[in-house]
Amino acid sequence: MADENWKPKIIAIICNWCSYAGADLAGGARIQYPPDIRAVRVMCTGRVDPLFIMKAFQDGADGVLVSGCHFGDCHYLEGNYKAAKRMFLLKSVLKNIGLEDKRLRMTFVSASEGAKWGHVMDDVIKTVSELGPSPLKEFAR
């Protein structure tokens, strides 16, 4: 399992208005970060059903990132509060099933924070890499 070429598989579900725009801005500014994250765009983090995250872990994801607007900045007023609450609960569920809750992360990156997006990428990838492959991986499929 722990072979040297192992690279984490991380999925990011990010909102259209802030984090996706922030990620685009990081691109415009040519901020470089490691390529281990794949993004799925939703309109708002409020759309993120805990089921999506469980499904990702079930599929063998090593980490999941949910990223939206800062509190007070959600394009739909409060979707990110609701998402944050759900992620909070979900983390305790993950712990209960024996998965490190650090594999799930929620961040808040605005449309103007390209540099911050780069830091988030570095940090999430580093955290998940240190944790190693997900113990659920062998059950995937």
Binding site: K9, R30, P35, V40, V42, K55, L77, E78, G118
Partner: protein, 674 residues
């Protein structure tokens, strides 16, 4: 009206863009295209230099017709840039435009992994696989058209807001101009002259203020603030707080049955008012009473009671008299709601509190002033009648230092990292005014760079050099006051001569940085507008959409979007007015059809989702003897918060359905090589 079509099997076309070398520079585009051909449901895959070009778009339209495609994937730049372009191409080919999905392999791949071509190529393949998975499940969607209210609102009555309101109103649109102060005019009414033409600021502004006041299509709401905003493009319900002014207009008097009454602007009340306080328009350098107008040219010319300092002695009521009955000391704030189709924010800026740069001694040393204070002191209608004097002793200064970039272009963390854009030019103007008004006076300009980028600006710079202003290139490290003479020692390094300077001057003028106003944060949240890192309101695109915001129907004008001088403010205001009038003239807008739909057979009628919706779009209804959830489409904005919550999976979020998102997750994690 387009009809909704169903197809037996997904047939997907994939197009990978080189974007010149933007993408092809780090991603092996051919390999990604070849890979796409191996994916399930993919019928055609192709690559092209520039997919957004006409030939690129034509490829899509032709393939849809020839290959009977049911979905299109373009792997290129960000959907935030070109999704509309490719949706149009998809529609051109005869397919519903929502049967299009974009894989972002530029902003979120080739540009951020420039030195990892192999990994970038693998990531691009994954992105295409994820997009194909979604495209295979996309459905026909019909955008909803909603009528647009034929009225507009402009928030902020500075030169930007005034221009925007005048343009909208002249285009036949009823416009509410909301200004928090008792008068319109903004910062420009505090200026003496304007660069580079040196016309008198009030002389060019006052006629505009009168035009605004008189325009039949403008409803001017001064001393008014935005309290609440509901709705969306075409249909904003804005609640306004009309602050208690304590003085009524002739129209309000008539409405109250006081015929021939109301404020005539005579000022009789001011004479008798016993309260004296600093006038904020004169930056505290002149007094005013508790009943006041800031200056004689205010528009509307209606007095205002400052209830914070008013002692309610009633002397002004008597002075105003029984016929006019204009003063009402029991006035209360009033709330009113107006419906508007589009909104322009033009809320301007404020001066950075330059005392935070303590090394320059502002507020500690009498003779260190800001440029805005200079404007009031040199202005004939200002507190000194246009005589520039030293605050310490009333003497006329002869040797004056102007400190540019005071708090601007400052990366110490105390000041602002950006350029405030007009300080160079107004300081040149100030130097000219000193030379013109005070015989024998010499202005010394301490600068980092002189930025004279506008039309006739460089010429103005040369002119001021010829007139005898002295330029010293270097940032001022500190200013020290001589406690006896109150003269100032300016310490700097002359970076051209490479030697330190200690210059004694009579007065220092700090060209202080500017910053977003304190209320900007509140205002932008009310309207759902983002801000850039330094707090200025964020445009939809820095180059291609500088007047729009990411909230449809809300536009920006003037300095609230970032520092700019009057010509640029007015130009942007006209652009914003034009943009804001388009939906109104079209009469309807199309809303993206990302609504929630209740899958009634799955809905248990628990009602949990009702509390999730921030817009109150959901309710429970009785249908065929069961309780089920119902979506009011006009209220749903498509965030998906309800869909992310429903325990029974009974909410179908159009274009972001659970099967679509799960397919994306599966495609990434299970679809590739394991």
């Amino acid at each position: 009206m387009a009809e909704v079509k169903k197809y037996e099997e997904p047939r997907i076309g994939v197009y990978v863009c080189h974007c010149g070398t933007n993408i092809a520079g780090s991603i092996d585009v051919k390999a990604v295209m070849e890979y796409a051909r191996t994916l399930p449901n993919v019928i055609v895959a192709d690559d092209y230099q520039y997919m957004c070009s006409t030939p690129g778009q034509n490829k899509i339209a032709e393939a849809i017709k020839e290959q009977k495609l049911t979905g299109i994937v373009v792997a290129a730049c960000s959907p935030r840039l070109h999704e509309p372009t490719f949706r149009a191409a998809t529609k051109e080919g005869g397919l519903n435009p929502f049967r299009f999905e974009m894989a972002n392999i530029r902003e979120q791949n080739s540009w951020v992994h420039m030195h990892q071509p192999e990994e970038a190529t693998e990531k691009a393949k994954d992105s295409v696989r994820i997009a194909v998975a979604k495209a295979s499940l996309l459905e026909d969607l019909i955008p909803k058209s909603v009528p647009v209210e034929k009225t507009a609102m402009v928030v902020g009555g500075g030169v930007g807001g005034m221009q925007a309101a005048l343009d909208l109103a002249s285009a036949g649109i009823k416009t509410y101009l909301v200004e928090k102060e008792p008068t319109i005019g903004g910062r420009m009414s505090q200026l003496d002259k304007t660069f580079p033409t040196l016309d008198c600021s009030q002389c060019i502004l006052t006629p505009k203020m009168v035009d605004v006041f008189r325009h039949e299509n403008i409803e001017l709401l001064t001393y008014t603030e935005v309290e609440e905003v509901e709705g969306y493009i075409g249909n904003f319900d804005v609640t306004l707080r009309k602050k208690a002014r304590g003085v009524i207009t002739p129209e309000e008097a008539t409405a109250r049955g006081i015929i021939g009454g109301g404020c005539t602007g005579c000022g009789d009340c001011v004479e008798v008012c016993p309260v004296i306080k600093p006038n904020p328009f004169e930056l505290g350098m002149a007094p005013m009473k508790a009943i006041y107008v800031y200056h004689p040219q205010v528009s509307p010319l209606i007095y205002t009671v400052d209830f914070d300092s008013c002692v309610k002695c009633g002397l002004c009521v008597d002075a105003c008299g029984n016929e006019r009955k204009a003063i009402d000391l029991d006035a209360k704030d009033e709330l009113m709601t107006v419906k508007v189709g589009t909104v322009i924010l033009a809320t301007g800026y404020e001066i950075f509190p330059i005392e935070k740069k303590f090394e320059w001694g502002y507020k500690n040393y009498d003779n260190v002033i800001t440029s805005l204070e200079f404007e009031r002191l040199i202005c004939a209608s200002g507190p000194t009648g246009g005589h520039l004097i030293r605050p310490s002793d009333g003497e006329t200064p002869k040797k004056i230092a102007f400190v540019l970039c005071a708090g601007s272009r400052d990366n110490t963390g105390v000041g602002k990292p950006y350029c405030s854009r007009f300080c160079c030019m107004y300081s040149l103007k100030h130097a000219h005014q000193v030379i013109e008004k005070i015989p024998g006076a010499v202005p010394y300009i301490f600068y980092m760079d002189i930025r004279s980028f506008g039309k006739m600006y460089e010429e103005f710079y040369y002119r001021i050099q010829d007139e005898g202003a002295k330029f010293i290139r270097g940032r001022v490290a500190s200013i020290l006051e001589d406690p006896v003479t109150k003269n100032l020692h300016v310490n700097a390094e002359d970076t051209l001569l490479g030697r330190p300077i200690d210059m004694e001057v009579d007065m220092v003028v700090l060209a202080a940085a500017i910053q977003p106003t304190a209320e900007t944060e509140k205002t932008r949240r009310l309207f759902g507008v983002s801000c850039s890192q330094d707090g200025w309101l964020l445009e939809a695109h820095p180059k291609l959409n500088p007047c729009g915001t990411t909230t449809a129907g809300v536009y920006l004008a003037g300095v609230c979007q970032g520092p700019k001088d009057i010509p640029d403010t007015v130009a942007q205001a006209e652009g914003a007015a034009s943009a804001a009038s388009i939906p109104i003239h079209r009469g309807e807008v199309e809303l993206e059809p990302y609504f929630a739909v209740c899958l009634e057979d799955k809905c248990a009628g628990c009602g949990m989702c009702v509390y999730q919706c921030p817009y109150g779009a959901l309710s429970l209804i009785e249908k065929d003897g069961r309780t089920v959830m119902h979506v009011t489409e006009a209220k749903c904005k498509g965030c998906g918060t309800c869909g992310g919550f429903c325990p029974g999976g009974a909410i179908w979020m159009q274009h972001f359905t659970t099967p679509q998102i799960v397919a994306q997750i599966d495609a990434f994690l299970l679809g590739g090589e394991q």
